[in-house]
C-alpha cells in the first residue's frame, strides 16, 4: 500500500508505476504514458522532473512532459542515451517501472507568467519539459496573453509532437514557428539556428515572459536575442540539465557552483543564474 510521503520515509524508494502507452516518436525518442499503481495523481507542476527506475538497471531523471491539467496519468519523452534510457525504451504497455518525485522547481505558470504574453524557446528535446507548460497555458488559455512558440531542431526528422504542434498553431493568439539546422529534400520551412526565428519578433518587454529550454549551447544565444527585444533577465526562465543522482539535494552531482539544480532548479529565473559562472 502506498502512503503519503512522511519525513521519515525513504526518500530513495521508488513507487511503482505501469506503462500505459509506449510509442516511437523519432529514431532516438519514445513517448510514454504512465500511471502510478497507487492510483494517486503524480501532482507535478509544469517543468518538474521525476526519477525513473528500471528494475535491475538503474535510475535516471526525466522531465514530466504532460501538464498537471491532464489527470489520471502522466507522460514522458525519453531519448535513448545510455543504460537506463535504453531499458526504458524496451518497456511495453503493462510493464512496471519505479517513479520518485516530482522534484525541482517549475515554470511559474501560476506566478509571473499569469496575464502575460509568453514566448517559449525550445531546442530539440527541450520541447519535452516545456510542453507541460505549453499545455498548461493552452488549458487555461484565458489567463495568458499572446503565446509564441519557437522550436528548433537539428533536422526535420528530429521534431517531436508534430501533430500536437499543429493543434497549438491553429489556436487563437498563438504563433508557432520552427526551424532546422539542416533541411532535407522535403523540408520547405526555415533553415538556421533558433535565433534566426527571433530577429523580427514583436515583443512588449514589459508584459512578456520567456521560457528557454534546449541543449547547453543554445542558452547564451537565445538569451542574447531576447535581450535585443528589450526583455530583461527578470522575465526569462531557463531549465538547466545537470547530472543528477538523487534529486533531493544530497548526492552533489547537480551542483551549479553553489546551486543545486535538483532543488533550486531545474527551472531558474535567469536573473538568479546570469552571474553564476557555471550556469550557462
Amino acid at each position: 500500500m502506498e502512503t503519503t510521503i512522511k519525513s521519515q520515509d525513504d526518500i530513495y524508494r521508488p513507487h511503482l508505476a505501469t506503462v500505459l502507452k509506449s510509442e516511437p516518436m523519432t529514431a532516438m525518442e519514445r513517448f510514454f504514458e504512465l500511471k502510478l499503481d497507487s492510483g494517486r495523481e503524480l501532482g507535478n507542476k509544469p517543468g518538474q522532473f521525476v526519477e525513473v527506475s528500471v528494475l535491475g538497471i538503474g535510475e535516471a531523471p526525466i522531465s514530466v512532459s504532460s501538464s498537471p491539467t491532464q489527470k489520471g496519468s502522466f507522460q514522458l519523452v525519453v531519448r535513448n542515451a545510455g543504460n537506463v534510457t535504453r531499458a526504458i525504451h524496451n518497456l511495453k504497455p503493462g510493464d512496471k517501472l519505479g517513479i520518485r518525485g516530482p522534484f525541482g522547481t517549475n515554470f511559474p505558470v501560476e506566478g509571473t507568467m499569469k496575464g502575460k504574453d509568453i514566448i517559449f524557446v525550445c531546442g530539440g528535446l527541450g520541447l519535452a519539459p516545456v510542453r507541460s507548460a505549453i499545455n498548461y497555458v493552452m488549458d487555461n488559455r484565458k489567463n495568458y496573453g499572446n503565446v509564441t512558440i519557437l522550436y528548433g531542431c537539428r533536422n526535420p526528422v528530429e521534431r517531436l509532437f508534430i501533430n500536437e504542434v499543429k493543434n497549438w498553431a491553429s489556436k487563437d493568439r498563438v504563433t508557432y514557428t520552427e526551424t532546422v539546422d539542416r533541411g532535407d529534400e522535403n523540408w520547405k520551412g526555415n533553415v538556421g539556428v533558433i535565433t534566426t526565428l527571433m530577429t523580427d519578433m514583436s515583443v512588449d518587454p514589459g508584459k512578456t515572459v520567456a521560457i528557454v529550454c534546449g541543449p547547453p549551447v543554445m542558452y547564451k544565444f537565445a538569451i542574447m536575442s531576447l535581450y535585443k527585444t528589450g526583455m530583461t533577465a527578470d522575465n526569462i526562465y531557463v531549465s538547466l540539465e545537470r547530472h543528477m543522482k538523487c534529486g533531493v539535494g544530497k548526492c552533489g552531482h547537480c551542483q551549479i557552483n553553489g546551486l543545486y539544480a535538483c532543488q533550486e532548479g531545474p527551472v531558474f529565473k535567469y536573473a538568479d543564474v546570469a552571474e553564476v559562472k557555471e550556469a550557462i
Binding site: 519525513s7 521519515q8 520515509d9 525513504d10 526518500i11 530513495y12 524508494r13 521508488p14 511503482l16 527506475s53 528494475l55 535491475g56 538497471i57 538503474g58 535510475e59 531519448r79 542515451a81 545510455g82 534510457t85 512496471k96 519505479g98 541543449p215 547547453p216 540539465e241 545537470r242 547530472h243 543522482k245 538523487c246 533531493v248 539535494g249 544530497k250 548526492c251 552533489g252 552531482h253 551542483q255 551549479i256 557552483n257 553553489g258 532543488q263 559562472k277 557555471e278
Partner: protein
Amino acid sequence: MSIKRVDLATLTTWIDGLTKKERVIGVQAKGDRFAFGPLARAADLRLDYDVTILPPKTFFQPPKETLMSFNKTSGYQSVVEDKPFVLFGVHPYDMAAILQMDEIFSQGTYDVHYMTRRKNATIVVVDVYRVSPNVFAGSMGTSHIEDGYDILITKIGDDYLVDGKTMSGKSLMLGLVAAPDASESWIEQRKMVWEYNKQRLRKHDLKVPPSKWPKLLEEGYDNPIWEERANLCYSCGSCVLVCPTCYCFDVRDETNWDLSSGERIRVWDGCMLTDFATVAGNHNFRKDKSARFRHRYLRKGKYVPTKIGGQIACVGCGRCVTACTANIANPVEVMNRLAEGE
C-alpha cells in the same frame, strides 16, 4: 557527577567489558598507520593514534551500502541497517565532521539510511595526544569539541578523564561507577589540554581564519592558482575519498543472476573525478581539471557552509594533504595563496 578519573587498568577493564556486551568499533594499528575496525579487546585499541587512514564516516555512509532490494513481483523494499554500535576513539575534528554530515543528511529531505546508522551510534571522542604530521585542526576551531559526542576521554598525565555527556554515554559508563569523580582541578586541567592542543594541532600555518574563507574563495574564483595547481592533478579522487566532510555519492543497481531481483547500492563518488558532472551527449559541465579542483575548494569553503549554518566543511584533519601524490590538495596552501592577493 558524571566525569570520572580513571587509571589505565580501570579503563582497560571497562573497555574489555564493553567489547563483550556491545558491538564496538575502535581505532587499531594497521601496519604503521591506524584504522577504525571491529574491536575484540581493549588491548587492540590505540587511543594514542595520530590520525586514521579513513575517517569514521565509513560507519555512517559506507563506501558501498545497500539502499534497497528489489524484485520483479514486489518492487523496491528499503534496506535500512539498524544495529546499535559504539564508535570508540573519534578525534574531535572527526566529530565536528560527523556533526556537519548529520545536518546535511537530516535537513530538508531526511536520509533514513545515514540517520538510522547515526542514531544507533554511541560515540566516544578522545582528545588528541599524538599529533599527526599534517593536521591543522587547531586553526579550524576543531582541535577540541564540547558537544555532540556521548563520551569524551581526555588523557591527563597517566590517567584518563571520562566524561559522559548523553544518556547513552552515561549508561555505557555504568561500568565505571566505582571510579572516583574527577576533581575540579582535573576538569580545569582538561581545559589546559584543549588550549595546548589548539596550539599543537597546527602543522600547517594557516594565515586566514576560517571565517574569511567564503569571501576569499568568492573573490578568488578567477585566481590563476586553480589552473597552476590543477595542472599536476591526476583526477584520482583520493583527496575527496579520505575527507571526513565529503559525502557525494553515486547510485547503481546490482542484479542477481536470476535477472529479476537485486539491490540498489550507493557508493562514494567525488567531484574531482573526471565524469562527475558529465551528462548524456558527453557534455561535461566541469570538463577542465582546474574547474573541478576549484569546485572542491568552493564546496568546502563556501557552498556547503551556506547549507550548514556557516561552518567550513574542512575540519583540518590533514588527510587530503597526506593522500595527494601530486602534493597539491593542501587547503592551507591554497587559502594562504588566495589571501596573498589581499
